[in-house]
């Protein structure tokens, strides 16, 4: 709604490189500065968003069902799922850690799915959110997505550090791989999103 008369590259018949920001003529296909392919609007960008989003969602299901950590000690052999781990931590009184894990492993990925879906659905509809807010949301999603990987990092570090054969062993479960894939897919999904389309009339 704000300043619809603001001239854009598209309205000026130009193509801007999304990587380095240089503006080219309408028929240029490759950025002569950074070599990135140039397209005024990618008609299949939204498809890619949805495709990655769906792939991320598919692998996110086993990431929550299957065990994240397989812990074996002398007296205990256990498999912990993400949510089970959070509940366990919460039960032990480790609220902060529980909150961090919950935020990183559940809140952020789920919020990301919702945010990307929202953005993709309401790219031409600004009833719920104006262009600026949508743009900001996209920036946040892109930024915060990588932090979801801390869960995977924790598992990777634990699995490589805690390896005292008989006494205690921690192995990553299927969920760790699934979760990492899910995070990667949603990041790709968010990256596939062309924020310029938010502003298209």
């Amino acid at each position: 709604m704000t300043a619809p008369a603001t001239p854009t590259a598209r309205s000026a018949g130009l193509i801007a490189c999304t990587r380095c920001g240089r503006v080219f003529g309408p028929d240029t296909e490759l950025c002569s500065r950074c070599g990135a392919p140039l397209a005024s609007r990618d008609p299949r960008a939204l498809q890619r968003v949805w495709a990655w989003w769906l792939a991320g969602l598919v692998v996110y299901i086993p990431a929550n069902i299957y065990p994240m950590l397989i812990t074996r000690t002398l007296t205990y052999s256990g498999e912990g799922t993400i949510l089970g781990g959070v509940i366990e931590l919460f039960g032990h009184g480790d609220f902060f850690v529980a909150l961090v894990v919950f935020t990183a492993s559940i809140l952020i990925p789920v919020g990301k799915f919702m945010a990307i879906a929202f953005l993709a659905l309401s790219i031409r509809d600004h009833r719920f959110m104006d262009e600026h807010a949508q743009h900001r949301l996209h920036a946040v999603v892109e930024f915060i997505g990588r932090w979801s990987m801390i869960d995977v990092f924790v598992v990777a570090i634990l699995a490589s550090l805690v390896r005292f054969d008989a006494v205690a062993t921690i192995n990553p479960g299927i969920a760790a791989v699934s979760f990492a894939l899910s995070v990667a897919f949603t990041m790709l999904s968010a990256q596939s999103f062309d924020p310029r389309q938010i502003w298209d009339e």
Partner: protein, 688 residues
């Protein structure tokens, strides 16, 4: 030139990124399907106590391999049992059929050791056992509360039932030993229906079941036995393992047993000796309680002391006590011992009860004189035992059936063989010797001697002896006596021949045969001796007849004979007899003087010594040949007859002088013979 734009494919508007979710979806679905399809069968096991079982955690193991995990633990209807749902892998599930057994393995620390140590760290697990046949898989099972100690379907062997008196020395899992080798184990002890004995299932592994027959005996091999009994101290220490673990041993003590079927029942004896003894008695240990009342001290008799019958242990003393009997001045303390006799050892049949045993004892007491008697069991310890002896001479007695608390057996005087009793017995025997009677008999004998010596007839004996000497002398000087050495020589020669013949003719073998016949004769005589009572009766009748004879008349006639002899002595002729004796003596004296002058005596002496040497040689020969002595005896009899004939000769006295000369010649010949023998002693034997 018309440029045809590239043909738009129908998928052209689609991004290739769509492949990613597609692949992810397919992969996820594939994984889901795989895990669903391969998740195995769900079985439900009910336990009374699910301690240590955690859902999702506790594994189910078969032969120590995990084949499933507990999925869910919940309660059955009415909260009466715990239902454990176990997800079992698909390839094993078909084998879990009706014969399957499940139990929870928990760490267990007992005197027999630590079991399930791995479960201390890993937590309890459910162990299962089933055979390798799949006959109708089931999904609902009842778990065992105790781990089964005995072999299951996958172990070959045999389960037999053992019967003990008490089970406090044996616990589940204790080993079954055969000659010290562990061949099986026992299950948990349990009471039998009537609560009188303890039953244990014993599992014996396969190759050793052949050692088990109906003649096998089991005994308790737990720990060690120290028994301080009448026969001293006995210490029996088994291996350290069985000392700690307890155990039951068995052995086949006699051959010829029948094969055993699974489930057969065996008695467990308290020790090996009892087990081996039991072969000859029946296994039942029915007890016949009796009591015995002793008059004297029972010092040394203890509870548990043996009761023996003909040397066999038939029971033991269970109780000792004193009680007062009688009233007023007759009150006295008597000692009572209660005995328990094992009916099985009395030799009665298998189904004999206390009534039969009591009947038997009653019969023995009345007919055989069965008595209870205290006997020394060991001189060292001074311990006593109760001996059931048969004294046929004992005063009649019966069992007091109405005695309290048990029927009372009659007793006999104790047969104590300790030192004091023995020496006392010796003194008693010395005391019982008839010394007084002996002295009196000696005095009587001396009186009789004196009477004989004082008798005038005795005084006349020397004179008669002198006349006898005269006769003898006359005999010695006869020709025939002089010829004796030659005859002896001939006899020796013939003896030698006999000896040779004996050597040739296997007389010894004949003798042995004769001894054999004599032996058989003796045997038949022995068998014939059963007729002795009849013979004795006949002898007795003969004796009675003899007794009935007119001994009085005989004595009277003897008396009359004596009187007439007395009258004869009193006649004049008799009185003059000494005078004629005197004259004869004077003549003898003259003769002796002549003899002395003639040197006849010296020659006779040398002849006698030579004859003595010859006699010695003959004696040697005679010792080796009783037959010869018999012939000699016959010869002596003949010689006796000859001598008798010579004694009657009337011209004996008148030819005295010529006889003397003959004696001289004979003496010369004897002297020559004697010298020959002296020079060559074996000539007598050899005949040269």
């Amino acid at each position: 030139m018309q440029i045809r734009p590239a043909r738009q494919r129908w998928w052209h508007p689609l991004s290739p990124v769509w492949l990613v979710p597609l692949v992810a979806l397919v992969a996820a679905l594939g994984v889901a399907w795989q895990s669903y399809a391969g998740r195995g069968e769900l079985i439900t096991i009910s336990f009374q106590n699910a301690s240590g079982i955690e859902a999702g955690q506790t594994p189910l193991k078969f032969r120590d391999v995990t084949i499933g995990v507990v999925e869910q633990v919940n309660f059955g209807a009415g909260l009466s049992e715990v239902l454990v749902n176990v997800r079992v892998s698909k390839d094993v599930a078909p084998y879990i059929d009706a014969g399957a057994e499940f139990w929870v393995v928990r760490p267990e620390v007992s005197v027999r050791g630590v079991t399930g140590l791995d479960t201390v760290l890993s937590g309890a697990f459910i162990a299962g056992r089933w055979d390798s046949d799949s006959s109708g898989a089931r999904s609902r099972f009842t778990g065992l509360e105790m781990p089964p100690m005995l072999g299951g379907p996958d172990q070959t062997g045999m389960v037999v039932a053992l019967k003990l008196r008490d089970g406090n020395q044996i616990s589940a899992g204790a080993p079954i030993l055969y000659r010290g080798i562990e061949v099986g184990a026992v299950g948990a002890p349990r009471l039998d229906e009537d609560g009188e004995s303890v039953l244990i299932d014993a599992f014996i592994e396969a190759p050793y079941t052949e050692r088990l027959t109906s003649a096998s005996r089991f005994w308790d091999a737990s720990g060690f036995d120290v028994s301080i009994g009448a026969s001293g101290v006995e210490l029996d220490v088994k291996s350290l393992a069985s000392l700690i673990e307890g155990g039951i041993s068995f052995d086949t003590v006699v051959s010829g047993g029948n094969p055993v079927n699974p489930g057969d029942s065996f008695e467990v004896y308290p020790d090996e000796q009892a087990a081996r003894d039991s072969v000859f008695t029946r296994s039942s240990d029915a007890i016949l309680p009796v009591s015995v009342v002793f008059d004297g001290s029972v010092s040394g008799l203890t509870v548990g002391a043996e009761v023996r019958f003909r040397g066999l242990r038939v029971g033991q003393v269970t109780d000792l006590g004193a009680y007062v009997e009688g009233e007023g001045a007759d009150r006295r303390v008597r000692l009572r011992a209660n005995l328990e006799l094992q009916i099985g050892k009395l030799g009665l049949g298998d189904d004999a009860g206390p009534e039969e045993a009591m009947d038997l004892l009653g019969t023995f007491v009345q007919t055989n004189g069965l008595r209870a008697r205290l006997t020394t069991a060991s001189i060292l310890t001074g311990g006593l035992l109760v001996d059931l002896v048969e004294l046929p001479d004992a005063a009649p007695a019966t069992i007091l059936m109405d005695a309290e608390p048990y029927p009372e057996l009659p007793t006999a005087e104790a047969a104590l063989s300790d030192f004091s009793a023995t020496s006392q017995g010796v003194f008693e025997r010395i005391n019982a010797l008839p010394v007084e009677e002996l002295m009196q008999a000696a005095i009587d004998a001396l009186d009789s001697f004196r009477a004989i010596a004082a008798d005038p007839a005795t005084r006349r004996v020397p004179e008669a002896a002198v006349s006898l000497l005269d006769d003898t002398r006359a005999l010695v000087t006869s020709d025939d006596v002089a010829a004796i050495p030659a005859e002896v020589r001939a006899i020796a020669a013939s003896a030698r021949e006999i000896l040779d013949k004996i050597e040739e003719g296997q007389a010894v073998e004949n003798l042995i045969a004769a001894i054999g016949r004599a032996d058989r004769a003796l045997t038949s005589f022995e068998t014939a001796s059963t007729d002795f009572p009849a013979i004795t009766a006949e002898v007795r009748s003969i004796a009675e007849k003899v007794d009935g004879l007119a001994m009085e008349e005989l004595l009277a006639s003897a008396d009359r004979l004596l009187n007439s002899a007395d009258a004869l002595i009193g006649t004049e002729e008799a009185r003059e007899l000494p005078a004629s004796f005197n004259a004869a003596l004077e003549e003898v004296t003259v003769f002796l003087a002549q003899v002395r002058a003639g040197g006849a005596i010296e020659r006779a002496n040398s002849a006698i010594s030579a004859a003595e040497a010859a006699a010695n040689s003959i004696n040697e020969a005679a010792q080796s040949l009783p037959d010869l002595s018999e012939r000699m005896s016959g010869l002596v009899v003949n010689a006796d007859g000859v001598i008798a004939g010579y004694g009657e000769r009337s011209r004996f006295n008148t030819e005295l002088m010529s006889v003397l000369r003959d004696i001289q010649a004979a003496a010369d010949a004897v002297t020559a013979l004697a010298r020959t023998i002296e020079r060559n002693p074996n000539s007598l034997i050899l005949g040269r």
